[in-house]
């Protein structure tokens, strides 16, 4: 059964069971492999995307739930906040292996949209659902602060 999806500003027809996790559709049907599979059960945050501007774990989001919605993945993240975060991520060399980082960035974008100048507690609370096996947490925190200062 075909579902119409709107991902990163483009329409796609996807022939998949409506119960398929959005993560599978993004990676296997659309080839958007920036979004990662870490756990499949909403425990790690690696699969975070935005749906109508709000963060969602795509591993626990069925395809049927995003029909007609605007999905943004790391490949389509843009705007002042995303760009400031990308610059800070590169400047501070945040990633280690990189596996978790697409999810970290999508959560960080959502956090800075809601709280433009977060303190450490805001960052802890907003980023708690994104695990990093390489423990880049202190660099992530520093990069979010740096990006927040950079966004005018």
């Amino acid at each position: 059964m075909a579902t119409t999806l709107y991902v990163n500003g483009a329409h796609h027809q996807v022939d998949a069971d409506p119960e398929t996790p959005l993560l599978w559709v993004l990676r296997d049907h659309l080839g958007l492999t920036g979004t990662k599979y870490g756990c499949g059960v909403a425990q790690c945050g690696a699969c975070t995307v935005h749906v109508d501007g709000s963060p969602r774990r795509s591993c626990v989001t069925p395809l049927r739930r995003v029909e007609g919605a605007a999905v943004t993945t790391i490949e389509g993240a843009e705007g002042r906040i995303a760009e400031a975060l990308r610059a800070a991520w590169i400047d501070l060399q945040v990633p280690q292996c990189g596996f978790c980082q697409a999810g970290q960035l999508m959560s960080a974008v959502a956090l800075l949209k809601a709280v433009p100048k977060p303190d450490d507690a805001d960052i802890d609370r907003g980023m708690n659902g994104n695990l990093c096996r390489c423990a880049t947490y202190t660099r992530i925190r520093a990069a979010i602060h740096q990006a927040a200062r950079a966004v005018k």
Partner: protein, 194 residues
Amino acid sequence: MSVALLIVAVTLAAPSPPEPPPPEELNDPGHFADLADEETRAKALFGEVAKVLLHPRCANCHPATPRPLQLDARRPHIPWVVRGKDGEGAPGLTCDTCHGETNYLQQPGAPHWHLAPAEMAWVGKTPGEVCRQLKDPARNGGRTLEAVHQHLAEDPLVAYGWRAPAHLQPAPGSQERLAALFRAWIEAGAHCPQ
């Protein structure tokens, strides 16, 4: 080992969730009809209502701290999430990041998934304490008892208590029976147990 093999190995090793205990019984209001004294009857009826309110499907999201509980074991929610403003979680990690409007796979979901405010915390309280709290507009969201009844009888988030994913024990009885017990309690004078 390749990443794919590692994922398969981890998936195979992951224990399947344990079967939940069978649903608990919930007596209907008729069960208490023999209690001629209204106050005695009201207290007994509320004790039955409290079986639902203090069940993990309900109390887990009426936590005593900013962090909800989860599962039948009432363990602190993982990941560490907090009530935040309006009970909808912290910016960047709102409840709807993971909980949709319906269950999906093992992920619980219901419309407007959120936490009760701190003044409506039930965890660690006795049925009598919860009863007095429910009657106090300062601690029940400014509701009349009729409005509390309506919340219990009709709110889709309350209905989730009996529609949890299969690995979770449903709340005792049914939403209809809960509403009938609460109605009978109001009619018997809404007295609270000790």
